[in-house]
């Protein structure tokens, strides 16, 4: 009986070699490989997922950056207050309603200004505005209704807790209403305005909800747009835009570095008209690649009466 090649190689000082498989075993493996195509689709035959249809955002520079907003996908727009995100949202709604499509805005904090929407060009007859309300609990706890005007005074611990519960019930409303809108189909755009929801509360929306929304909007012509302070949908969003704040077109400097003295020299027109808004593309999970660099900026304009 001959020794195995391993031991003979080791004994002779030659490099260690693994034993070659027997010829019968090799043929068995080749036969198994031939049967594989029936069960496993080869990579060359995999179905090519078509790129989603893109719709214009109503802002030329933004369309150049991302190609627009994708249908059947979740798009996030995040940014702090006074960054220009609401202007972007209204522009997208205006453009969608102009195309003859119906839009829905789920307003978590009831912050929409109809006059601003009309000035942006939104056809209000085609915009379904859902005004979510806070839970108001008189004496102890009561049914959902809009809260009265806040009075002057310090918030007690109980009020803070009630405030937090209020945000949670608002978010429940937002999730339920969004589910209903996605199931009804036929909307060109469904926008969720979570811009005033505290980040801590917004992050409590379970990721499963976002996944459910993404699955519901897939293969539909609906654009699902979410406005928020910070990204909260995780990997469920296909496009993530960060609105990075504004600067004056006159001085070209960002507001955060302006001295109070320099700021006082700006006129109202200079501050609000030709307002430059910066947008950074953080994520684009589509088949197509970004057209240009990941940042862009555009100018807004003020709507003047008369």
């Amino acid at each position: 009986m001959s020794a195995s090649p391993v031991f003979s190689s080791a004994a002779s000082g030659r490099p260690f070699l693994f034993p070659a498989p027997a010829e019968g075993l090799l043929w068995q493996r080749l036969e198994a490989l031939r049967k594989l195509p029936a069960r496993v689709t080869p990579a060359s035959h995999l179905e090519v997922r078509p790129a989603p249809e893109m719709v214009s955002s109503g802002i030329r520079e933004l369309d150049a950056l991302t190609g627009g907003f994708p249908r059947g996908c979740l798009t996030e727009i995040c940014g702090p207050a006074s960054s220009g995100r609401t202007s972007m949202l209204l522009s997208a709604l205006a453009h969608t309603t102009h195309r003859g499509e119906v839009c829905a805005l789920v307003d978590a904090s009831d912050t929409l200004d109809p006059a601003s929407a009309v000035a942006a060009g939104v056809e209000m007859g085609r915009l379904l505005w859902v005004r979510c309300g806070k839970a108001v609990r008189s004496s102890r706890f009561s049914v959902l209704s809009p809260s009265p005007e806040h009075s002057f005074g310090k918030l007690t611990t109980e009020k803070v807790r009630a405030e937090r519960r209020g945000w949670e019930s608002q978010l429940e409303q937002v999730l339920k209403v969004t589910d209903l809108l996605l199931q009804s189909h036929g909307f060109g755009m469904i926008a969720l305005d979570l811009g005033d929801i505290p980040v801590r509360s917004a992050r409590q929306i379970p990721l499963a909800s976002w996944f459910r929304f993404r699955r519901a909007v897939e293969h539909t012509p609906t654009v699902l747009l979410v406005l928020e302070q910070q990204p909260i949908a995780g990997s469920c969003s296909s496009v993530l835009l960060k609105v990075t704040g504004h600067r004056s077109a006159v001085t070209g400097k960002r507001f955060s570095v302006l001295s109070s003295l320099a700021a006082n020299h700006l006129t109202h027109t200079e501050l609000l008209d030709q307002f430059e808004i910066g947008v950074e593309l953080l994520r684009l999970r589509l088949e197509r690649k970004p057209a240009r660099s990941v940042m862009t900026s555009f100018h807004s304009r003020a709507a003047w009466a008369g």
């Binding site: 109503g58 802002i59 030329r60 702090p80 207050a81 006074s82 220009g84 995100r85 609401t86 202007s87 949202l89 209204l90 522009s91 453009h95 102009h98 003859g100 499509e101 119906v102 200004d113 109809p114 006059a115 601003s116 060009g121 007859g125 085609r126 915009l127 379904l128 505005w129 979510c132 309300g133 005007e149 806040h150 009075s151 002057f152 005074g153 310090k154 409303q173 339920k176 209403v177 209903l180 809108l181 009804s184 189909h185 036929g186 909307f187 811009g195 012509p221 609906t222 507001f255 302006l258 109070s260 700021a263 006082n264 501050l271 609000l272 008209d273 307002f275 555009f298 304009r301 709507a303």
Partner: protein, 534 residues
């Protein structure tokens, strides 16, 4: 040729229409005040077990299997209206002969609806779909059809010339029930009984002149009817487009679930009647008569709970209408047990939409209406819809309108070219480019705080310099930039006059500058942070 639809034991059939589970059981309908109620109508099953017309309630206790119900005129009217709708869905010439009996002219319908036998069977089927078991008879003249429907059950077709032969075996009282009133019927019956006339063959065989001498022209007319030879024109019925259904309950119902069960049945009948008249429902009105509470001072005053559903488009789907009613009643419950239900539908022409390949995506009106009803149940009444700005200078004046988007029309290429040509002519090419360019930019938007936030403001030289909002701690600090004020006031002639000064201010936040709209109410001297520019 003429057809007659006749419902035997009509008061009983009207009750069974609302309670289908009673079909196949012995049912008697009572009339009169307690404890003197008497049987005024009963079905065949009740006759078989020995119940008779005129029996008192006490006498009926012997039959345990007998179901007793009080006569309901509302249900009889609904049933008769359904019968008329059924007839009018076949022929435009209909005569409203009596309660539970209608006649229709079938002239010219054979090429459209098929042979007469088929038309008769379709009539019976259509009536059955409306929960009405009707006898259908077709004959060459209206009275012959009427007599055949009263005398024979099911579907009967009497060919021309065979009327006397077919009517021969019918008893005389069938003829008298059809064509004479109460007292005359008893008189004729007595006379024919004395003469030994038991059936219509015997009456038809009497000599005409002696009959006329003894009974006059009326007797002669009865003989003609017995032979099936009397002719007349139909007195055409012009029905108003009223689609109502009523149910009176034996016991009050307190839960929404059994109410939904009854509403489902009523809606199916209303929709069937609407469909038979090529109509759809534009508005639904629901009236519920409620049990009076013990605190009610006036016992004669009825307690009626009314809900009106105005639909954005005419609808004919009973399931969708039921769901809308359920959602509405969940949001606005009646608050007391229900004794009577009245449902009325306002008819309208059904909508006709032409689909196109290039139309933008649009929600289905029925689905959208259901979705809106569900959303209203979540966020509350008046908080979901389309905002409409009011024509006033008051800031933030708007009202919520029901959301009813109009389906956009598909423009043909020729029409599109025409529109562009007109636009170029009116506006000029520069204006178009400018407006197109304008449309590709954003307009600075304001986010409002609802409710607006009370603030404490330090003013220096007439300008706000420091702001503190205790509700939102982040809105506080030195004001680094201001613009304004913009003064406005209005509604002085009304009690709700207003006067305000608006300032646009900038506050330094953690890492960015935030722009707010600050408002001073000149009447109350309070300061409010109204919104943030974003």
């Amino acid at each position: 040729m003429f057809a007659c639809l006749h419902i035997s034991d009509f008061p009983v059939e009207a009750i069974i229409r609302c309670e289908p589970e009673l079909r196949g059981r012995a049912v008697a309908v009572l009339i009169g005040k307690s404890p003197l109620e008497k049987v005024m109508a009963l079905n065949e099953k009740a006759r078989q077990i020995g119940v008779e017309i005129g029996a008192t309630k006490a006498q009926l206790e012997a039959w345990e299997e007998l179901i007793l119900r009080t006569r309901s005129e509302a249900q009889e009217n609904s049933a008769h209206a359904a019968l008329l709708d059924c007839a009018q869905s076949f022929s435009p010439e209909v005569e409203d002969t009596a309660l539970g009996t209608v006649l229709l002219n079938l002239a010219g319908l054979e090429p459209l609806l098929g042979p007469l036998q088929k038309i008769a069977q379709d009539l019976a089927q259509r009536a059955l779909r409306m929960d009405l078991e009707a006898n259908v008879a077709v004959a060459t003249n209206p009275d012959a059809a009427l007599l055949a429907a009263h005398g024979f059950g099911g579907v009967t077709l009497i060919p021309e010339g065979h009327e006397a032969e077919r009517f021969g075996e019918l008893p005389v009282d069938v003829l008298l029930q059809c064509f004479s009133s109460g007292t005359d019927e008893a008189r004729w019956l007595e006379t024919f009984d004395r003469w030994g006339i038991r059936n219509l063959r015997a009456l038809a065989g009497l000599p005409e002149i002696p009959l006329c001498e003894r009974l006059g022209q009326q007797g002669l007319h009865l003989q003609k009817l017995a032979r099936g030879a009397a002719t007349r024109d139909l007195q055409l019925f012009e029905s108003p487009l009223i689609f109502e259904e009523d149910i009176e309950l034996e016991y009050p119902i307190m839960l929404l679930e059994p109410l939904a069960f009854l509403l489902n049945r009523m809606l199916e009948q209303v929709c069937a009647r609407l469909g038979a008249r090529a109509r759809a429902a534009q508005e639904l009105k629901l009236e519920l008569e409620l049990v009076k509470s013990a605190e009610d001072c006036d016992p004669d005053q009825s307690t009626t709970f009314t809900r009106t559903l105005r639909l954005p488009v005419p609808m004919l789907d009973a399931k969708v209408l039921l769901k809308l009613l359920q959602l509405d009643l969940q949001a606005h419950p009646p608050g007391a047990p229900i004794l009577k239900i009245h449902l009325a539908a306002e008819p309208a022409r059904p909508r006709s939409t032409q689909n196109g390949l290039f139309l933008p995506v649009f929600p289905e009106p029925e689905k959208l209406e259901l979705t809106l009803a569900r959303i209203t149940g979540i966020v509350g009444e008046g908080r979901a819809g389309a905002a409409e700005l009011l024509g006033t200078h008051r800031e933030g004046a708007f009202q919520m309108q029901p959301f009813a988007p109009v389906v956009p029309e598909e423009k043909t290429s020729a029409r599109r070219k025409k529109d562009i040509a007109v636009q170029v002519e009116d506006d000029g090419p520069n204006r178009i480019a400018e407006s197109a360019q304008e449309k590709m930019t954003a307009v600075i938007a304001l986010r409002l705080f609802r409710p607006r936030l009370r603030a404490v403001v330090n003013v220096q030289d007439g300008k706000p310099v420091k702001l503190k909002c205790l509700v939102r701690k982040e809105i506080a600090g030195e004001i680094v930039w201001t613009a304004g004020p913009w003064r406005s006031s209005g509604d002085w002639s009304e009690q709700e006059g207003w006067s305000r000064e608006e300032w646009d201010i900038a506050l330094q936040a953690e890492s960015e500058m935030v722009l707010y709209r600050l408002v001073e109410d000149k009447l109350s001297r309070d300061w409010w942070v109204e919104g943030v520019y974003d």
